[in-house]
Structures are given as C-alpha cells and as structure tokens.
C-alpha cells in the first residue's frame, strides 16, 4: 500500500492497520520509520559530540552529559538504527526475492518489530527519567556496574527487549529462507541479498544469546545484588568483555553482510551483468561469518591475555581479510566488461568500494597486535569502525533504500536530490573520519570529553567537525527527498532498473499477497533469464487458486507493551515498592496476550480465486 493510497483512508484506520499488521511489506515500512527515527536521534547525538570537540577544552556540554551522549550514540546507531533499517530492507525484499507470499511466521515478524521499538523507546526514556546510560555502548564492567542512577539499568532492560526482537527476526528469516523458497529457487540460485540475510540470521541466532547472558548477569549485579563482576566479592570484570565481544564481533558482520548482499545485487543490476564468481561470493560470506566468531579477543589485545591468545586472535582476524578481498575483487570483476549506468543507487555502491577498502585496510592494521597497542581505544579505531560501519552498512542501507524504494513505496526517489545527498555525505564522511586516523596516533584516546590545548589536536578535530556538518546536510536533503517523493514523486513502474530478480516481476508496490501465482525459477537471476530467453515474464509454478493469508493481530503490540511496562518495574523495584505494580502488571499483560495467542485458534483467511482473477497482474 503506497503512502498516497493510504492517505485516502482515515488516519485512525491507517494507524490501526499498521499497529496490527503481519504483512512483511508493512512491517518493512515500520522498521524503516522506526530505524530512521533512531538514526536521526543517533545523528543528533553525533553532532553534539562533534560540536563539543570543535575546539580544545570546549564546554558546550558537561562531562557527565557528554558520556551519556557518546553512549547513546553508539548504542542507538548499532541496535536501534542500523539493525532495524537492515531488517526493514530484508523484510521488504527477501520474501519477494525468493518468491514467497510472506515470511514463515508473520505473527512473530510483527512481534520482533514491536519488541525492537519498545526496547528502543525504553532506552531513550532514560533521557527524561534521571539520565541516560553513561558507560559506553560496550558498558564495560565495573564502570557499568558502579554507574550511579538508573541510566545503565535502562541500557540493560532496553537492549534485552530489543535484542529479543532481533533474535525473533533472525529465526524467522532462517525458517523463511529454508522453507519458503518458490519452486526452482534452489539455494544456489538465490540472489546474494537473500543469501547474506540467511547467513546474517545464523549469526544473530548464535551471537545474540551471548549478549542476552551478559545483560542478564549485568542485570542481576545491578538489580538483585549478585556479584558476577564485583572483584571485591570474587567476581571478574573481564568476563563481561568476553561475553560482550563474543556477541559484539559477529554483530559487526551482522551489520555489514546484508550490505554486502545489497551491493552484490546493485552492482550486478546496474552493470547488466551476472554477479562474477557467484559461488565464491556465497562461500566467502559463509567464511566471513564463520571466522567472525573466532576473533572477538582482538578487541581485547591490551587486556593482558598474554602473547599466545593475542597472536592466535591476530592471525584469525587477518584471515578474514582474504574472503573480504575476494568479495571486493569479485565486485570489480562484475563491473568489468559491463555496461555501467550510474544513478544514486550505484553511486552509493561505488562510494562503498574505496571507503570500505580503507576500512578493511585499517582492519588488518589493527589486527597487528603490537601496532594495536598504539591504535587501541584511540581515534584511529574510531576512524576504522566508522569506515566499516558507515562505508559498509550506511552506504549499503542508502543504496538499498534508493534501489528498493520504488518497490516499497511505489515511487522513485528524486535523482537530483539523491546525488546531492550522496556527494555531501560522501565528502563529509571522509572529511570527518579520515583525519581521525592521525588524531588517534597523535595521542587522542576515544571517548574524550575534551582534548587539551597545545597538544597538536586542534586542526584535526576542527576538520572533523566541519565534515560532520556536511554529513548532516546530506541526511537532511535525503529526508526532504523522501517527503517530496511521497507527495510529488513519479509513479514507479514494476521494473524501473531492468532488474534481474523476482521482486521486479510484480507490481510496485506489490499486492498484499505478493505473487498471484507462485513463480517458477529457472536459474540465477530468474527475471533476467525470462527477459532474455523467455517470454519476458515469470512462468507461474501453479494454477491460479485460493491464497491463504494470515490475520492481523494486535497481540504482538500488547506483548511488547507489557514487557515495556514490566521493564520500568524491574528498574525501579530496587528502591521503590510501587514498582512491583508495574513489574507484575506488565508481565501479566504479556503473559495474558501470550495465552490468548496460544488458546485462540486463528486459521487466517483465504482470498478466493475469483477475486484474484478480477485483478490485473
């Protein structure tokens, strides 16, 4: 349903539709709006950081507030912006790419979104209720266990709720991709974005439990008097670092692999060429994911784990550069000999190659243990991970948004504004972060509220802040573009990019049942094959028949709301008895909703064949 069409209905009806929807396309919209909102919030926090660091010994914000801002910037961008935006794109594209009518568990899909949203809101409520978490997004113990006030409690509970949503989303995509592929869509014919979604979901499945455990331990220490991380009582603070990074490093790949998938589809489409070395690309992705679990301690080279552990983790980390390099060269080879058209989508993909290569370069450099003794916890590392996470993930999200916007909203984003966004953001990005490599080596540790006068750090920080304003300008233009497109944008055809994969074979935006008849896949890039060798459209794999659809449900919202309320109960029961009302009340809402879901039969509904015959393709 496009926004324009939706506007014809009453606001209340649209709101109720979105609150109860289990349609993956609408959940994609929700993820994009939710993630987009938090992206703007995280961006605002970034601007506060850069304004504070525009000159030495600045007093734009206080030390305590600065620590809250830097903590929330990291936490928001990773958990509440990048991940949901990627999940939004996955929801929008993956079921279509594999020829499915929806995900395997539409109800859970909705539950995953609402858990993320309420978790994110919970975390941000802390701003108004005594202060945000201030122990960094890594929340290292004992700084986090001893942080006064309730800030870190919000971190623990907010992430626990949002994390549950992500885990549910991951499992859902695993089951969807294993079970719901259309006839002929074998694993080795799946578009790369579906592949990377599949592998990312595996990473989520194995990585998030480590975070869950870590957060529970932290929660017990802070709220129930346990001493897992209390050295005075025999606890150990390093355990948190292990748990966090056993999650945290795969998390980096959770963020970047889907972007790799987007770029693979984009390079192939706009070069009019099949992806070079498809099999190698798939196995390189699997290898990156596998190795991603073996390298967590490279975040801990300076902890004092000893030379044996440090060397092993250094070599494992360097090994990841090999499959990543394979990918870079395969993308270049995909374009080699092609017929490249450059539009905004392709610009983001092209901007990604040198940017991410620099990020990968510095990645190998920080893997070199003794060199890392200098890089670690300085602006060099800040520069490195922004090259990877912005150059990889954010560029990927931007490419994906421009690429699938027509499919998601039925309108094509404005090209001129798209290019303006790209160039200001791209130039701003390099201005902001390139110089930070040197700032780090010149002696500027990360998470510094102020840097002192006369330490040679003034110019670099000033350049960095100027760059940040360029990036902010780019984002504002994009926002305007999105609104402008919704109001005045040109209607999108089914296949605006001469696409190669199944999502371009159906209407933009697709009908709520996606495919009237399940499509038959005859090879990699099925639509391309039909366009070159067949009759130009996908052959159905089944006769027209009734379509079984799931019913909308308000229960996911209620379950998440219950946990949200109970979260406040958990936080405040430490020093207020009234909080038990919230705790038990909230849990009751969640459990009763779960009971209703379990006891009430819901068989969904059927769209009759006759109705489908009446609709145009």
């Amino acid at each position: 349903m496009s926004i324009a069409a939706a506007q014809k209905r009453s606001f209340g009806a649209v709101l109720w539709d979105y609150l109860t929807t289990v349609d993956h396309k609408k959940i994609a919209h929700l993820y994009l709006f939710g993630g987009g909102f938090f992206f703007l919030l995280g961006g605002l926090e970034a601007m506060i950081i850069r304004i504070q660091l525009i000159k030495p010994e600045n007093d734009f914000v206080s030390a305590g507030f600065y620590n809250e801002v830097l903590t929330m910037h990291g936490t928001t961008m990773i958990f509440l912006a990048a991940m949901p935006l990627l999940l939004g794109l996955m929801n929008a594209a993956v079921p279509l790419q594999i020829g499915a009518r929806d995900v395997a568990f539409p109800f859970l899909n909705s539950l995953g979104f609402w858990l993320f949203l309420f978790g994110g809101l919970m975390l941000n409520c802390s701003w108004f209720l005594g202060g945000a978490p201030d122990a960094g997004w890594t929340a290292y113990t004992p700084l986090s266990t001893t942080s006064p006030g309730h800030g870190v409690d919000y971190y623990v509970i907010g992430l626990q709720i949002a994390g549950a949503g992500t885990l549910i989303g991951g499992i859902n995509f695993l089951v969807t991709i294993i079970n719901m592929r259309a006839p002929g869509m074998t694993f080795m014919r799946m578009p790369l974005f579906s592949w990377t979604t599949f592998i990312t979901s595996t990473l989520i499945l194995f990585a998030f439990p480590a975070l869950t455990i870590g957060l529970f331990l932290l929660m017990f220490d802070r709220m129930f008097g346990s001493a897992f991380f209390d050295v005075g009582l025999g606890g150990n603070t390093i355990i948190w670092q292990h748990l966090f990074w056993i999650f945290g490093h795969p998390e980096v790949y959770i963020l970047v692999l889907p972007a790799f998938g987007i770029f693979s589809d984009v390079f192939s489409t706009f070069s009019k060429k099949r992806l070079f070395g498809y099999t190698a690309m798939v196995f390189a992705t699997i290898l990156i994911a596998f190795l991603g679990f073996m390298v967590w301690a490279h975040h801990m080279f300076t902890v004092g784990l000893g030379p044996v552990a440090n060397s092993i983790f250094a070599i494992a980390t360097m090994a990841i550069a090999v499959p990543t390099g394979i990918k870079i060269f395969n993308w270049l080879a995909t374009m080699w000999g092609g017929s490249i058209s450059i539009n905004t989508t392709m610009l983001w993909a092209l901007g990604f190659i040198p940017t991410f290569t620099i990020g990968g370069m510095t990645g190998v450099m920080v893997a070199s243990v003794v060199a890392d003794y200098q890089y670690h916890d300085t602006y060099f590392v800040v520069a490195h991970f922004h090259y990877v996470l912005v150059g990889g993930t954010v560029f990927g999200i931007m490419a994906g948004l421009h690429y699938w916007w027509p499919k998601m909203f039925g309108r094509v984003l404005n090209e001129a504004m798209g290019k303006l966004t790209f160039w200001t953001f791209f130039i701003g990005f390099h201005l902001t972060f390139f110089i930070q490599h040197f700032l780090g080596l010149m002696g500027m540790p990360r998470r510094y509220w102020v840097f002192l006068e006369d330490q040679g750090l003034d110019l670099g920080n000033l350049i960095s802040t100027i760059g940040a304003f360029f990036m902010a300008f780019g984002v504002i233009v994009f926002l305007y573009n999105a609104i402008y497109t919704a109001v005045k944008g040109e209607q999108a055809p089914n296949d605006p990019w001469d696409g190669r994969t199944l999502e371009w074979a159906i209407a933009s935006p697709p009908p709520h049942y996606n495919f009237k008849q399940t499509p038959l896949t005859r090879g990699l890039d099925p639509l391309w094959i039909e366009k070159r060798e067949g009759k130009g459209e996908i052959t159905p794999a089944e006769p027209l028949g009734d379509i079984h659809m799931p019913n909308s449900s308000f229960l996911p919202f209620m379950m998440s709301l219950g946990l949200f309320i109970a979260g406040f109960g958990f936080i405040y029961q430490v020093n207020h008895n009234w909080a038990y009302v919230l705790l038990f009340g909230g849990m009751a809402i969640t459990l009763v909703s779960m009971m209703i879901r379990s006891l009430k039969d819901d068989h969904g509904y059927h769209i009759p064949k006759e109705e489908l015959e009446g609709e145009a393709d």
Partner: protein, 350 residues
Amino acid sequence: MKGWMGKFRAVFLLGLTALVLSACGKENLTALDPKGYGADKSLDLIILSTVVMLFVLAVVVVIYTIVLIRYRKKKGQEDFIPKQVEGNKTLETVWTIIPIILLLIIAVPTVTATFNLADESDSNEHLNIQVTGNQYWWHFNYEGQEIQTSQDMYIPVGEKVYLNMKSSDVIHSFWVPTISGKMDVNPENENTMYIEAHEEGVYWGKCAEFCGPSHSLMDFKVIAVSQDEFDQWVADMQNVNPDAEPESTVAQEGKALFQENNCMGCHAIGSSPVQVGPNLSDFGSRSKLAGIEEMNKENLVQWIMDPESIKPGNKMTGNYPEVSKEEAGKIAEYLLQLKPSEITPESAKD
C-alpha cells in the same frame, strides 16, 4: 567519473596537508615520533602494515578507475547486453593466494613482536614500579625503594623499567604514546609491561580506557632523567620528612590547617602507603596540577575550594571539611613548597 576521483584525492591531500602542518602531532605525546622501545616496535609494524595495505588499496583503485572509465554505458549503445560471465578460476585463485602472502608478511613480524614485548623473564634485574590507576589519577610505588608518588613518574633514561599495574576501582589503561603502547589496568589482576625511554624528556601519559566523567582529564607524566639524576631523586625522595616545618609563616599556617582538616587521611607525604588520594611528597615539583592544569597558586586554591570545577566526578569533592579562600591559600602555600628534590621535570630537558 573524474570528479569523484578528484574529490577523493582532495580528501586524501587535505589529510596529508593537515598532517604535515601539525608535524605528526605534539612532541612527546605523539606515537608517530617514538622515543621508547615499545613505541619503536609499534611504529615499525604500523609502517609495514600501512605499506602492504596501501599496495592493496592501490591495486583496487587502479582496477576501479579502469572499470569506471572503460565500462560506463555509452551513448548509442543503450541496448548493449554485456557477456554474462560466471567467473574465472585462475583470477579467483590469484586474488585468494596473493592476499594470503601479503598477510603473512604482516603476520610473522606481528607474532614475533608480540612475544618479544611479552618476555618478562628479566623483571628481577630491573626497577619495578607498582602502578595503581584510580578515578582520575595515577599512583606510583617504587618497589623496594620506599618511594611513593603520584602523577609524575620518574624513570632513568635508557633503562628497562617494569610496571606492575592494577586498578583500585574501574578499568583504566596506561598509555604513554611516545614511549610505548598501552596496557589495561584491571581491578582483578596485575598486568605487567616494561617501558624504556631512549631520550630524556617529559612524556605525556593518558588514560585510554573509558573510566567516567573525567576520563579525558586523567593525564600523567613519565619523566625520563639521566641515571645520575634519577639516583639523586631516589635519595631525596627516600629522605622526605612528612613533619618538616616550612620556612615561611604562611606555609607553616598552611601545614597546621592541612593537619587540622585531616588532609593526611587521604594524602600521604613521604613513603606512607596511604593512597586514598594522590601522594603529595613532591607536589611542588609537579609538572601539572591534577595532571592537566598549570601548576600555580591560583589554580591550586580553586582546586582546594572546588575540585569538581576542574575534574568532574572526582572522589575528593564533598569528602573534606569546607575551607575558606584564605585557608585554601595557606594550604596551597604549604603544598607548593613541597619540593624535596632538585630533580624536577625541568631536569629532563637537557
């Protein structure tokens, strides 16, 4: 796509220009102009890995540029359908094997250096200093020497010095970029590293692990002096008499106030093991006040009256009796004349 490469190059050049302008950063703070054993090792690996990786980047950029020049959609060939290539075994093998070789070039010296820096077999033969990280100051206990000091660490130049580090509260990280890379200071176990300065000098140290509001203000100094000067400093510091009467009357009154207000409950003068707050034995010689501010009476009075305004979140605020500005001035007078040794940060400048 000339414009885009041009802009990319411009960004690069801007970075380089900035680097040249600031000449690799501030002397005795930057890691790019090393004057110590560990920092040398790190810079060697930084240069090696940068060179190897720049080679990779160059290859990528060359192919990338060719692709963008040669294979853009051409006017009049809008319907051109390129050959759909599946892959190329030889090429794919090449770009798998060559990176492995390049990585080995970095990996072997990395492992060697890692084991080299971790070799602590001769720690008994060298000076050992117990380092304690505190929110937001550093304490140094010279093992077996009866010397306790805070914020300014004196070491002999050209000598290996072992640091045995532990935190009293949250995790900190000991980093003196010009002399050596960093090592975390954990609350549960002692981490050991050694440092060796090649030249005399006052080196900036910073806390590199996020430790609270004043994380960015937890600076300290490592002062490398000649062996003779160091020996004299040791002798002087061992002779610090906590009860020594100051010369001026103001300072004498300050000393009395210092005792009346029970400042020694936290701040030791001499080799007393008390280290709730920084040891003040050589306070008057310190290079900086609280690690960051210029050492003068005005700043010290401000610190005594309102430490929160200088280091937010410090543990002194609210934990001592209120003093008037006049009293604070007298205490400051007393503290500033605590100069037990002629060896000061100035001595490191020859």
